[in-house]
């Protein structure tokens, strides 16, 4: 296949970027999006040009490193999949694809398609610790967990922190990410003692990082590679409002 790419090129965080057009011949339908970029990068390097920078690690859709916009959709056209698991069979010969980095004040572009997502790390850090008993392993069934809550906590814990929710949100809000992180511990008995504090602190950090607010558009849920539901956003709103009303602070 032949694919035409419009790629955002930006040499450093301070530099002004622009789109550059590349024609890529000999693309196989079995290549992933990132493998196609590897091929293009080899060709660019052999011509002495700078390769296109993009984040990646596992290339199996589980680490959350990769991600950029393909034709205006975070992680591209396929549902519940990351860019590394998007294959060229999703496109046709002759297609023109625009590749653009996540855009948010809190996610500065480092280079080309790569953004700095350490704001997410700071939100997680703001969540603090959970008071679990350390030492010898406890008896597995000592702490009963409601099946529905275990399932929901698991769904929330599936968040890989890729940032697609922020990228897709018209307000660049980090509500889906933060709500998944708040909920996956908040739903379990192990996370209960710090539940209120965690909600307050993580939301405060989220706001401090400069993310937007939630208008309940639902764009985040639609692009989330893990299919995390906006129901978690409502749960976080509830947790935060309750925590603010009843906490000693």
């Amino acid at each position: 296949m032949k694919i035409t790419l419009n790629v955002w090129r930006q040499s450093s965080p301070e530099a002004a970027g622009s789109f550059v057009k590349y024609d890529v011949d000999g693309v196989s339908a079995d290549m992933s999006m990132l493998e196609m970029l590897d091929v293009l990068n080899d060709r660019l390097e052999s011509k002495g040009e700078a390769p296109i920078a993009f984040d990646h690690d596992c290339r199996e859709g589980i680490c959350g490193s990769c991600g950029f916009m393909i034709n205006g959709v975070a992680h591209g056209p396929e549902k519940e999949i990351t860019v590394c698991q998007t294959h060229m069979r999703s496109f046709k010969d002759g297609d023109e694809l625009t590749l653009e980095p996540w855009r948010a004040m809190a996610f500065p572009v480092m280079r080309d398609l790569m953004v700095d997502r350490s704001a997410f790390d700071r939100i997680i850090q703001a969540g603090g610790y959970v008071s679990v008993r350390t030492g010898s392993a406890p008896e597995a069934n000592a702490t009963p967990v409601m099946k529905e809550h275990a399932d929901m906590a698991f769904e929330a814990a599936a968040c890989i922190g890729c940032g697609a929710c922020v990228a897709a949100c018209p307000n660049a809000a980090a509500m889906l990410f933060t709500s998944a992180k708040v909920s996956h511990l908040g739903l379990l008995p192990q996370g209960e003692p710090e539940r209120d504090k965690r909600a307050i602190d993580m939301v405060a950090q989220m706001d401090k990082e400069g993310f937007g607010h939630c208008s309940n558009h639902g764009e985040c849920e639609a692009v989330c590679p893990k299919g995390i539901s906006v129901n978690f956003i409502a749960r976080m709103n509830r947790d935060l409002l309750k925590a603010t009303l009843r906490s000693s602070r």
Partner: protein, 226 residues
């Protein structure tokens, strides 16, 4: 900072303010719409209704004070949130394809700005009589303020009717999203009731808009006349 200030400083706290103030305005508009429909029962019924409201200062001023608090709070918070989210995305995408958001959700802020302008015009028109000073001097046979004549004359002007109808169209979109979004903002979400939330929002938004629009249309088409 007190807990209330820090709650208002947070985006989630601001959304709770949007939801609660939105709900109060929504409740008021439902009552207002029901009252307007009395115009179909003729001059006497309508003027009796108007006089009853005016003759009950605690109700009248209680409602006015509530709305004078809640409406400014709703739009000031809206402006703060919009500013915040504009700042959160300084560089926009060259291309962006909506996946799940609706026309109503994406235009809620523009509809809101129109509604703000409309509310000011509406007050100047029928409450303060700034646009039509003669409205204040209308009295019916029993010496009461002739609100019915005011409404009939006001809506005999097609431009006026257009301004009102566009406002009602904005309202249907504002509420078809807002009236379920407010549940989400307050954390009221349950798989058993989520679908009901959205259906109720659309239904009530349409009932409101049809109800409100029926009076100006009825006057313009001569169904309601003096």
């Amino acid at each position: 900072m007190s807990w209330l200030q820090s709650l208002y400083a947070s985006t989630i706290g601001k959304k709770a303010v949007m939801a609660i103030t939105g709900l109060i305005i929504f409740g008021f508009t439902l009552g207002h719409m029901a009252g307007n429909l009395l115009a179909f029962f003729g001059e006497d019924t309508f003027n009796t209704y108007a006089a009853t409201l005016k003759g009950n200062p605690p109700l009248l001023w209680g409602t006015r004070l509530l709305l004078l608090t809640v409406i400014p709070l709703h739009f000031l918070t809206a402006f703060q949130l919009i500013k915040r989210s504009n700042d959160a995305r300084p560089a926009t995408y060259s291309k962006w394809q909506p996946q799940r958001s609706t026309y109503a959700s994406r235009t809620i802020r523009f509809g809101g700005i129109y509604l703000l302008g409309f509310i000011l015009y509406h007050l100047a028109h029928y409450t303060l009589f700034l646009t039509n000073p003669e409205f204040g001097g209308y009295h019916d046979a029993q010496g009461r303020h002739d609100a019915f004549r005011m409404v009939v004359e006001g809506f005999s002007n097609p431009v006026n009717v257009a301004v009102y109808l566009v406002a009602m169209l904005s309202l249907v979109f504002h509420l078809s999203h807002g009236a379920w979004s407010m549940f989400q903002s307050m954390g009221l979400n349950h798989p058993k009731y989520n679908q009901l939330r959205e259906r109720a929002a659309w239904t009530l938004a349409i009932v409101l808009t049809v109800g409100f629009s029926s009076v100006p249309i009825a006057v313009l088409t001569g169904v309601v006349h003096r």
